[in-house]
C-alpha cells in the first residue's frame, strides 16, 4: 500500500473539487514564507495522532515556524521523522465530521462511512454513531444518498448540495486513483462560508494499481525497514519479524503455516519470505541474500513442489551458499514435484534434507540453539 502524505492527499482532494484550507508545503528552510494569519504547522508523516505527539503546532509568524520545525524535526513518530511540513491557515468551524470510502471485503463493495463525531479515531466512535452505505461502483453515488445522510445526521438542508458534491468527489478519487482508503477526518462545516472543508486527509493507494499511477510519488515507503524496502523493489514478498530463525518458503499460506509450526515448537521466525511459484534460480539467490542480511541463527527452507520444482530450488540454494558462504546452519524440507532429484543435489553438496515438516522444524530449532 502506498500511503500518501497529508499534503499529497489534499492536492488530490483539491483537484477533485473538495475545499481544503489555504496552505503551502515547506520542504526546506528557504521556503518558509512571511505570513500573519494564525496557522498550523503540520509534520508530514503517515501516522495518526500527530497533534497529541507534538507534530501539529499553532504558529503566528515566520520565526515561530522556524522554531517549531527545529523542535518537530527531533521527534519520532512510530519510527518516522518529518522532513516536510504543511503550513495551513486556521479554519474556524462548528461541526466536525468523519467521512471515508474504503473496501468492505465481506460485501465486496466500497463502503461509505460517515459520522458527526469526527475529529477522533474512527475506532473511538461508537458504532451507533457511524452510518454505513454500500456503494455499487457500477452505479456510483446516487443523489438520494445525500438526502438520506442529511436526514439521518440531521444536517441543515442547505448542506445537502455540498454534501452530494463532496461524496461524488470522494468516490471519484477512490475509484479513479485506485485508492484503498480515502478518509477526511475531520471534515468541518465552516458556517461563515456554509461550506465543507477537509482539514486532514488520509489516502492510501493500492500497490497493485500503481502501474497506472506513475504520477504519484511514494514518499513513505522509504521509511520501511531497509530490507523490506529492498525486497519490495525486487518483487519479493518479505516481512521482517522478531525471531532468530530465518524462513524461506513458497506460497503465502505455506509460509504463514511454517511460522505457525515454529511457534508451536516455541521458536520464533526472523522473517516471512514467500518465494512464490518460481522456476527461476535467481529468485532463490535474491531471497538468500536478503536472509543473509538478517543474520539468523539458522535458516529453514520449506518447499512444497507443485508449480515450483524442488530441484530448481536445490540448485539455486547451492549456488547461493557458494556465493554468500553463510555462517548459519541450513535445514531444508522438500516435498512434491522433483523431490528425489532435489534431495540428491543437496546430498551431494553435503546438505541433508527432510521430507517431513515436523522433523525438519525440530532440527532447525536444535541447530539454531534457540532452546
Amino acid at each position: 500500500m502506498v500511503k500518501l502524505l497529508e499534503y499529497q492527499g489534499k492536492e488530490l482532494l483539491s483537484r477533485y473539487g473538495i475545499t481544503v484550507p489555504k496552505s503551502i508545503i515547506i520542504k526546506n528552510e528557504t521556503s518558509i514564507p512571511e505570513f500573519k494569519t494564525t496557522s498550523f504547522l503540520k509534520a508530514q508523516v503517515p501516522v495518526g495522532h500527530r497533534g497529541e505527539r507534538g507534530g501539529v503546532v499553532k504558529v503566528n509568524n515566520k520565526a515561530e515556524v522556524e522554531k517549531a520545525i527545529q523542535n518537530i524535526s527531533k521527534l519520532k513518530f512510530d519510527g518516522y521523522t518529518a522532513d516536510s511540513f504543511l503550513l495551513e491557515e486556521e479554519v474556524p468551524h462548528d461541526l466536525e465530521f468523519y467521512v471515508s470510502i474504503s473496501l468492505d471485503r465481506s460485501t465486496r463493495l466500497p463502503v461509505l462511512l460517515i459520522s458527526k463525531k469526527g475529529g477522533v479515531d474512527i475506532e473511538k466512535i461508537e458504532d451507533s454513531e457511524i452510518y454505513r452505505y454500500s456503494i455499487n461502483p457500477l452505479m456510483g453515488i446516487s443523489d438520494y444518498f445525500s438526502r438520506l445522510i442529511s436526514r439521518q445526521l440531521s444536517l441543515p438542508d442547505i448542506l445537502t448540495i455540498s454534501l452530494l458534491q463532496l461524496l461524488n468527489s470522494l468516490f471519484n478519487i477512490y475509484k479513479k486513483e485506485d485508492a484503498e482508503l480515502v478518509e477526511i477526518n475531520p471534515l468541518v462545516l465552516n458556517s461563515m462560508k456554509n461550506g465543507l472543508i477537509a482539514l486532514d486527509s488520509k489516502v492510501v493507494i493500492e500497490d497493485d494499481a500503481m502501474f497506472r499511477h506513475k504520477e504519484i510519488t511514494d514518499y513513505t515507503s522509504r521509511w520501511l525497514d531497509p530490507l523490506e524496502l529492498e525486497a519490495k523493489q525486487k518483487g519479493i514478498s518479505f516481512v521482517r519479524l522478531g525471531g532468530k530463525i530465518g524462513v524461506i518458503a513458497n506460497g503465502a499460506g505455506l509460509t504463514m503455516a511454517t511460522l505457525d509450526i515454529l511457534k508451536n515448537n516455541n521458536a520464533d521466525a526472523g522473517d516471512f519470505l514467500d518465494l512464490g511459484g518460481t522456476d527461476d534460480p535467481e529468485k532463490i539467490t535474491q531471497a538468500f541474500e536478503l536472509i543473509n542480511k538478517t543474520n539468523p541463527s539458522a535458516l529453514f527452507v520449506n518447499i512444497f513442489g507443485g508449480v515450483t520444482k524442488c530441484d530448481v530450488v536445490a540448485d539455486g540454494l547451492i549456488k547461493a551458499i557458494s556465493e554468500f558462504k553463510p555462517k548459519f546452519n541450513i535445514v531444508v524440507r522438500l516435498k512434491g514435484f522433483r523431490e528425489k532429484e532435489a534431495t540428491e543435489i543437496l546430498k551431494s553438496n553435503g546438505i541433508n534434507s527432510f521430507s517431513d515438516m515436523e522433523e525438519a522444524v525440530k532440527k532447525v530449532i536444535e541447530l539454531a540453539g534457540v532452546k
Binding site: R105, R108, T255, M256, A257, G306, K335
Partner: protein, 289 residues
Amino acid sequence: MVIILGKESKIIVQGITGHQGMFHARAMRDFGSKVVAGVTPGKGGEKIDNIPVYNDVDAAVKATGADVSVVFVPAPYAKDAVIEAIDAGIKLVVIVTEHIPFHDVVELVLYSKIKGARIIGPNCPGIASPGLSKAGIMPNMIFKPGNIGVLSRSGTLTYEVVNYISDFGFGESTVIGLGGDQVIGTTFIEALSLFEKDPDTKAIVMVGEIGGSAEEDAAEFIKKSVSKPVIAYIAGRSAPPGKRMGHAGAIISRGKGTAESKIKALEAAGVKVADLPINIPKLIKKQLI
C-alpha cells in the same frame, strides 16, 4: 464437482502462448481435462501441442463450444480478458493471475453476477476434481479420487493439505483454491454451499488465513446451512498486525482479521480446527466415524 466443472467441460486457456499458460495447458490435459483452445490476441492460427490458438475468445467459443476459461493474462490486461470471456458466454472463469487491482475485481464480480457467470480467483490455483477435470495450476500428483471437499484461500498450502489427505488414505471429491486477494469471485460461503449440495462430498476441509472476515462469515453460514462435517485450519496465528503476509488479503488491520477470531468463530459453529496442517486427516477420520 459436476455442478461447475465436469468431465465434459470444455476449457480454453487465455494467455496460452505464455510460459505459464503453455505449461499448465499441458498439465491440465494430462490430468484429463478437455483443453479445447487457447486465446492470445495476435497469435491466432498457431498451435500449442495441437491445441488451436485463437485471436479472441468469441472465435474460440464459436469453434469449440468452450464453457470454461483459465486466465493467465498479466494483471494490467486481466480485467479486459475476463470481460471478453464472460461476453463470449463462458460460464466459469478461473483467474490465476496475481496482482490484479482490487477495483477491477470488484467490477468483475458484479459483472459476472449480471451475466450469470462464475469467477474463481483471482490469484488462485483453480479447481480440480480427481478423475473428472482440472481448471487451473494445481499439481496433478497430489490428488486421489475420494469424498473430501477442500476449499482454501492459498495455493501451496492447499497442495500440502491435499497431499496429507491423500497420503493418509482419503481422497478428494473437489478441491477449490479461492484465491489470496481481498476480493475474490467465489467466497467460502458460495463454495461451502456448493459442497453441501455435492453428492460426492462427505466432509469438507476449509483452509483459511488471517485478514478479512471470510472465515467468520463462513462460520455463521456453516452454523445455519451446512450439515456435513467441516474441518478447518487457519494460517497466520503468529503473524504480526498491520503487515501483508504475502497475499494481498492476508493482513490484520485495525485489530480485525486475526487467526484467534476466526478459530473462535469456527469452533463456535461446530467446526473442528486443526492446530497444524498435518493433523487435518486425523480430524477428518474422527468426524467420519
